[in-house]
Symmetry: C2
Amino acid sequence: MTKRNIRLLLAFDGTVYSGWQRQKNAPTVQGEIEECLLRMTEAKITLHGAGRTDAGVHALGMVANFRTDTRIPCPAFVRGLNCMLPPDIRILEATVMPDQFHSRFSAIGKTYRYTICTAPVQPPTERLYATHVPRQLDAVLIKTALNQIIGSHDFSSFEGTGSRDLETDGFAGRGAMRILYQAEFTSEAMRPDTWFFRFTGNGFLRHMVRNLVGTLLLVGSGRITPDEFTAILQSRDRAQAGATAPAHGLLLEKVLYEPFASSP
Amino acid sequence: MTKRNIRLLLAFDGTVYSGWQRQKNAPTVQGEIEECLLRMTEAKITLHGAGRTDAGVHALGMVANFRTDTRIPCPAFVRGLNCMLPPDIRILEATVMPDQFHSRFSAIGKTYRYTICTAPVQPPTERLYATHVPRQLDAVLIKTALNQIIGSHDFSSFEGTGSRDLETDGFAGRGAMRILYQAEFTSEAMRPDTWFFRFTGNGFLRHMVRNLVGTLLLVGSGRITPDEFTAILQSRDRAQAGATAPAHGLLLEKVLYEPFASSP
């Protein structure tokens, strides 16, 4: 009997976790879910995530898949895991996928949102999900800079230090070349002090969104011009860019896939 | 020297607090702020809040006032209190007011928001600030019922048990008569599974918003009709109404005052 390939759509509040990836002595999202899958299926299961979020980063639409030979139906995985998991991790959907589906290698893109609060004092109910930048930002300057990075670029200037995981990130041989399809900066009418960066791309380097945001905040504060921002991108030199923005403002909204036929 | 009358505008995440009002052996918002005022001014200060929020209820725009003979300037109260207070309580503004200003007796109204998440599974990043009602609600039915309660009514059917604090709530002699100016049910385009009740009135009975919401959810689920909702209002009988909705979905948005001249 072949194992079923099950895809989970899940959301988490990353506040208390040391990121997605399993670690020996720290709570992680992958670790919590694998532990519950072990209890449900009585088999050691490896969960493959679409990406590795940093410590403190949140997700609304993370995707992961695993293989199992149990006959537990998908709705029972959703209900059962949600009963066992802590309330800051929720399984939204479980679906049987064709055998070749892989949450990371099959992904064609991701959307990340980064939330900024520009009020002089940040409302406490937003403190865990938005970064506090207590000054007015020039949205026109930021949007000008964002328009210059849409498209295919070498994003080395915005790559965090640490090894690039060439074998597993699906971008072997492509170096730091990535395509940004969307790069927005918006606020809602109801929440004039709350601003959202939204980036959709075919892939993201380590810390890339947080480094882009840290540098774009320099643009919005008038400390560098949109042209200087573009020069930083072109320099391919991490030392030119701004500081890494804090993790808690970042949220993985969505992982994008080509339409995939579900297994019968 | 007369004491200055200082008004604080403040916000809090009520998750870990046993409500606004000071209690002997439980953390409360009033208790935390009074403790910090004692440390700042070296005098015992009583903080008068515009209302008493229940345990777990949040606030974006709570108002409170106190009297002090220190010469500490208002901006220093904001900075100083925010340094000492836990991160889930923030002082947004401090203003010197005329002597006759009182946060509760001078208030002419309040706006409360109640947030509902109707997604099958609730995103964990919203679990502390929205009540999960995992079913579609009929917004037309709810709005029909809401339109019938705008205006002046005896809200006894929606009053929580416990003593009505006639001497201090500013409504002595008016029994359960209150005026609702606004009663809305809306969602945001960006968040189709998130719904907001918003009530503005001249005053609210104990648990009134949570009891209204609990009963309106019966209307939205088709369990009672808008006309039956109106009959419950007219019955003035708490036993007719629905259950009290959970505290954590409720947020005090704003306290309303007539324009007041600030002291020089």
